[in-house]
Point group: C2
DNA sequence: GTAAATTAGTTGGGTACAAAACCAATTTCG
DNA sequence: CGAAATTGGTTTTGTACCCAACTAATTTAC
């Protein structure tokens, strides 16, 4: 009921014999060995798990990174935020509107450059961020447990390397 | 020009001093150490890179896994396909419609169970799959180069572990 | 100093996805 | 058997995202 489609086959595990047409176990072919595919699966699963964690504070996980980055970089512009966040500027527009409407951030016009805004957290925003940090910690601890402390650093490094280098390689 | 927003700060690297308000380098705080965040960044980057690769054959990367899974598992049902694919069944409906419309797959009603379809590739579908496989190979080779042959297997295993275990842990 | 180029942010159009409500076929049970 | 539960697939609704086009402010160049 929670997040059904990605847990796995979602209707396997029954011991009873099935004459169910074609599957039962699926042949992944080269996909089984394909990094991009598993990257997507892992990301989706992790994301969904975090949605569950963060539901308690009613803020989607996409908002969390945004909030944290603003907290860490008060006065940051929307463009810089988008870049740091790996999203398009236009994606941020409605998110920031929402966060502002909820009183979690402030957007002030910059005097020296009236095009841009500086973003900062309100007190409510800080409080919210603290709550979310607890969720995020729990979530990430869970991931740590799965990855194993030993491999964590290396794993992270590879992820960063991919984000930085892929698509520019050739 | 290619995929600008996610390469990184996207306007750093100039040696000239900038009085640009607040950023220049962004403080990621604990985000810098957060697996889920980098998982997302890496996945996004990888995905975008594959979009570039696959543009030549005019088929989005999401379709690719779908096509490959059908090719490997002729007669598979939509539900099983969705599960293997890590997507919701409802997500597949329009995708399969599209693939059928393009003459790449066939959906036949199953006589013994008239609710479900069996999916198979047409010859055109097989040909398309072959073309895509070339793109995918190139893309994955690129990822391999970034990851390094030595760590690849372990990296993949961790990804699979995450997909399988997260969200069920507690 | 004004025209052209650039930059910050928004808007509009389109894709990909999930969740919930739904329909029809099928299985289970009383 | 026939009602209830289950299952395969679609529809509807809503979110997150990108890209290309746009507006306004600012910088660059002549």
């Amino acid at each position: 009921m929670k997040q059904d489609s990605l847990s796995r086959s979602a209707e396997a595990d029954t011991a009873s014999p099935r004459k169910n047409a074609a599957n039962e176990h699926v042949d992944f072919g080269q996909l089984a060995n394909w990094v991009g595919f598993h990257l997507r699966l892992a990301q989706t699963a992790s994301f969904q798990a975090f949605v569950q964690e963060a539901r308690s504070v009613d803020l989607s996980p996409g908002r969390f990174a945004t909030l944290l980055l603003i907290g860490r970089n008060p006065g940051i512009s929307q463009t810089a935020l988008a870049a740091a966040n790996g999203r398009d500027k236009s994606t941020l527009t409605p998110i920031l509107e929402d966060l502002e409407r909820r009183g979690l951030i402030v957007r002030e016009k910059v005097k020296t450059d009236r095009r841009s805004y500086q973003l900062t957290l309100t007190d409510a925003g800080k409080k919210m961020l603290d709550q979310l940090t607890v969720c995020a910690k729990r979530h990430d601890d869970n991931l740590d447990r799965i990855i194993g402390a030993k491999d964590r650093a290396k794993f992270l490094k590879i992820l960063q390397k991919i984000a930085a280098e892929v698509g520019r390689g050739e």
